[in-house]
């Protein structure tokens, strides 16, 4: 395919995606609201992701600490290890890695679930049963992911720091209280708030892309697989793009 036709395809997809996002905001404010399904999705998307997020966050904190330690020792700033790890995790690594894990687990599952519902006419069946499928399936999932990812990131950061404390104590001897005092003393509002806010955008992007890919899945099982796959790939790239934009915005707003 030529560059022109690829560009045309990309622009068409971007246009459809924008329309889909616009439809989300319109449907979001229209009654009747699906609170029960929203709560169920918060449980499925948030609570059920916690073990995976917790495990990866713990390993991430531990490994980061062990990797940083030799360099910190070389420079004679070993005592600053908790502070450095805390800032790296809270500002950048925690939100981005958690969002990527979230994209792998939730983005793919939303893409595959909605894709399979589309090809087996379950979405049509919902409409016939007096339900607005967009509101019931898309709005609830996107809202749940947007609400739950910042919660997961916050918990993931905390678990990561426990992993880091363990990492510090593998070679050294730092008390729990001293470690947390150093972490809290070195973290400021400017570290926590931008990271927390960008997590909302990560959650929104993962879910809206998963829903878009699933909801517009082409016929057949191959289409369902493609929806799940492209949901993860596009949302992972999107997480980095949002991260890049977020860093620029926080810089302009003086949060650095």
């Amino acid at each position: 395919m030529s560059i022109a036709s690829n560009l045309k395809l990309f622009l068409n997809e971007a246009g459809d995606m924008s329309r889909f996002t616009g439809r989300f905001f319109i449907q979001c404010f229209k009654p009747r609201h699906e609170f029960a399904e929203l709560l169920r999705q918060c449980f499925v998307i948030g609570y059920k992701s916690l073990p995976l997020v917790g495990l990866t966050a713990f390993i991430m904190g531990l490994v980061l600490t062990l990797q940083l330690r030799p360099s910190m020792v070389d420079y004679g700033v070993e005592s600053q290890l908790p502070a450095i790890v805390a800032i790296s995790i809270v500002r950048e690594i925690g939100p981005v890695i958690t969002a990527l894990i979230f994209a792998g687990k939730i983005g793919s599952s939303i893409g595959a679930e909605l894709g399979s519902m589309k090809v087996t006419e379950q979405i049509d069946a919902m409409e016939v049963s007096g339900t607005n499928p967009f509101k019931y399936l898309v709005v609830t999932r996107v809202l749940a992911a947007t609400i739950m990812l910042p919660v997961l990131v916050t918990l993931g950061d905390a678990i990561s720091l426990y992993g880091s404390w363990l990492g510090v104590n593998i070679r050294g001897n730092t008390s729990f209280n001293l470690f947390w005092t150093q972490v809290v003393d070195n973290l400021s509002f400017n570290d926590v708030l931008p990271a927390f806010i960008k997590s909302y955008f990560f959650g929104f992007a993962v879910a809206i892309i998963g829903c878009y890919k699933g909801y517009n899945s082409s016929k057949g099982t191959e289409g369902v697989g493609r929806s799940a796959n492209s949901a993860v790939v596009i949302s992972s790239v999107m997480i980095f793009i949002i991260d890049l934009l977020a860093v620029q915005v926080t810089d302009i707003l003086g949060f650095n």
Binding site: M117, T120, E121, Q122, A125, V128, S129, G130
Partner: protein
């Protein structure tokens, strides 16, 4: 088992389709299609694959919007009405999907309760339980109530889907290829069930099919869809005698 052919049909119109057009790009699927269905009738729309049968049934239930024409059901023109009014009409219509469309993540009970809850039917939990039980008994699958759709065979899933269409006591049931993908014995059982339901609940049926067994056993009138139009219309016996090659090809 066959629907009685001599049943008097001097009754009110339930569905009236006038000059219906629907195209997808340059593919003109329905071209000036007309159809009338009276209360209590069981009409089969017969056509080859890709002739627009499913498009027609999806236009009737409001899943697709026709380009032109009217679809009057229960006194309302389906393409023109608002979503809230369309939902009220849909509560009186049962729709059996070709792929059954059972919700994979829900149990059989939840699948059957879903239309009741979503159409805001004011019933207590006890009444819901009774309605679910009755619908499952009608299709002979009361024991599957707590099972997941994935645990059921193709024929059982079709029966559960049929039970779900019955739960709201619909006045008209639309069947989209009800026997597709089923073995001949199960097909016969499903057709038997459809005619039994028609007799028991006095519903009207519109069946989309190309299965001649289904056409013969479940219809008291057949409409042949060719080139987007209602090409021929009559009973099974009348059309079987028709010498027009486009009609004859279905009966050979």
């Amino acid at each position: 088992m066959d629907v009685k052919k001599d049943k008097p049909l001097q009754m009110a119109l339930v569905l009236e389709i006038r000059h219906l057009y629907k195209s997808f790009g340059n593919n003109h699927v329905l071209l000036d299609f007309n159809l009338e269905i009276k209360k209590g009738e069981s009409v089969v729309v017969l056509g080859k694959s890709g002739s627009g049968k499913s498009v027609l049934i999806k236009c009737i239930i409001g899943l697709l919007k026709p380009d032109k024409g009217s679809i009057e059901m229960f006194g309302e023109n389906i393409p023109d009405i608002k979503d809230e009014e369309l939902d009220k009409i849909r509560a009186k219509v049962g729709f059996l999907f070709q792929s059954n469309a059972l919700y994979d993540s829900m149990t059989v009970r939840e699948n059957l309760e879903f239309p009741l809850r979503r159409h805001w039917i004011q019933v207590s939990q006890d009444e819901v339980n009774t309605m679910v039980k009755e619908a499952l008994e009608d299709v002979g699958l009361a024991h599957t109530i707590d099972m997941m759709p994935a645990e059921l065979s193709g024929g059982m899933r079709k029966r559960i889907a049929l039970a779900r269409t019955l739960i709201l006591n619909p006045e008209i049931i639309l069947y989209d290829e009800p026997t597709t993908g089923l073995d001949p014995i199960t097909s016969k059982e499903i057709i038997g069930l459809m005619t039994e339901i028609q007799g028991k609940y006095n519903t009207t049926s519109l069946i989309i099919s190309h299965d001649m067994n289904c056409v013969r056993m479940a219809s008291n009138r057949i409409v042949i869809l060719v080139d987007g139009k209602c090409y021929a219309n009559g009973t099974y016996e009348q059309l079987k005698e028709n010498m027009d090659p486009k009609v004859k090809q279905f009966f050979e």
